[in-house]
């Protein structure tokens, strides 16, 4: 599941900008440090971020599914093509330096995925709309961001409907890899065509509902921005600035 997961944690209740700021901070921190151990501390921080919202179990699986192929590729490429020193793993000479680089890149990927999937899981799109509206962000930009954040759950729901409909018409999804590949056509074509049709109809619906109206929208229930929200965001900014200062002053190398 990649999308908002209702909950009552402090992160769910926080101003929507706060989880987004923490996720952005973790993303920047992952690139501010370059030692494998330090990168994996950032990964641990991202996991803690998810756990504090009670969504660690929810985000781990998609994060692993997204990261695993890249981790394998990084390990093979850097391990086999990296420089000395090497360790022998059976008949294969594995580069220690390459392995460390793979750990760094893989860790950064893990941190980014965990951080942003957690933000997706904890920020309610409706509250984010209200928060951005209250700040006077033009609706076009609000819609662009929020529709991007909600695209995966919507596509999943559509895929489920199409799979059900095609199975009712006799489509078989199991069998050999070739048979599975063949079954993709009747799923992908209606998925793409219906998504394009919906874009048209939703554009019309939003136009009718004032989505293209000029002037400032009224925020009906803007999320409260408490002192704790501001404090957390300042801590994130300070930590990121300090990490980059450390990096560029040479002490972090």
């Amino acid at each position: 599941m990649i999308g908002y997961v209702p909950g009552a944690s402090a992160l769910h209740r926080a101003h929507p900008y706060t989880p987004l700021a923490i996720a952005t901070g973790l993303f920047l921190m992952a690139f501010a440090v370059s030692a494998p151990g330090a990168v994996w501390v950032v990964v641990a921080a991202a996991a803690l971020f998810a756990a504090s919202a009670g969504v660690l179990g929810t985000v781990l699986r998609p994060a692993a599914i997204l990261a695993l192929p890249t981790w394998v590729l990084l390990t093979i490429l850097h391990g086999l093509l990296g420089g000395a020193p090497h360790v022998m793993l059976g008949p294969v000479a594995f580069s220690v330096a390459g392995g460390e680089r793979a750990l760094v890149f893989g860790g950064r990927l893990a941190a980014i995925l965990l951080a942003f999937l957690t933000a997706l899981a904890t920020v309610s799109p409706a509250r984010l709309v209200e928060a951005m509206t209250a700040r006077g962000v033009p609706f076009g930009r609000v819609y662009l961001l929020v529709s991007t954040l909600t695209v995966v759950p919507r596509l999943r729901a559509r895929v489920r409907r199409i799979v059900d409909a095609q199975q009712c018409r006799g489509l078989r999804l199991g069998g050999s890899p070739l048979a599975r590949l063949r079954a993709l056509g009747p799923l992908v074509v209606p998925l793409v065509l219906s998504a394009l049709a919906e874009v048209d109809e939703q554009a019309l619906a939003l136009d009718v509902r004032g989505g293209t109206a000029r002037g400032r929208r009224t925020a009906l229930d803007p999320p409260a921005e408490r002192r704790a929200d501001r404090a957390v965001r300042w801590v994130v900014v300070t930590a990121v600035v300090a990490a980059y200062a450390w990096k560029f002053l040479g002490a972090g190398r």
Binding site: S124, P125, A126, V129, T133, F139, Y143, V146, S147, T150, R154, E198, E201, Q202, A203, L204, A205, L206, D207, V208, R209, G210, G211, A213, G215, R216, R217, T218, A219, L220, D221
Partner: protein
Amino acid sequence: MALDAVTFAYPGAGTPALLDVSLAIEAGTVTGVTGAVGAGTSTLLLVAGGFAPRLTGGALSGRRDIATNRISIVFATPWTQLTGLATTVRAEVAFGPASLGWPRGSVLAACEAALRDLGVEHLADRDPGTLSGGELQRVVVASVLAMEPELLVLDDPAAELDPAGADALYALLPELARRGTAVLVATPDSERLARTAERVLVMEGGRVARDGPPAAVLDDTDVARIAWAAGCPAPYPLDVAALVARVVR
């Protein structure tokens, strides 16, 4: 809203979907549009509402005057008419007025009034994604009514409703007209048009083939068919009350 010799063709279409259409829609009236599939009823609504060619593309010739920019449209399928940004029915209905920048109190008042008009107050805190098609369509209609349109265009709005829901929706249209809204509704449902609209346009091949009061232009309601079979001369009574009145006279 007035159209004068309007012809409209969709992009890439060989033949126009509307041909030389002239009509005027007055405030405070309910005008029905009916016709076979492909006759141009939906296109007439899009053109009359100013949505075509602005959003659909295509070419329009002739003269079109729309005296208001408070225009709303409702389609037959409710699922694609949601904003996708609201987690409650109340937020969905309030979306339109909020987009127009109305003060918060006015938005909430308009929202509650529209929910009440459509009989969906009890759904206000529900997630729109959990509603049935009929409930959702009533929410969609409430969402456009909350914006207090001066021209309301409805394309087969009761397609997803049960008979009672459809009756309730059609009963609301004359009430909206009494409040000053110009209502333009397309449907193949002659029975309900006969009861609701004071004027009906019958479309054929993109043209307005007939235009007048329901009793003068409609002849395909159940009662009209019975009257025809009984040898009653045209124009046929369209509902039981008209048939009784004819018999008594």
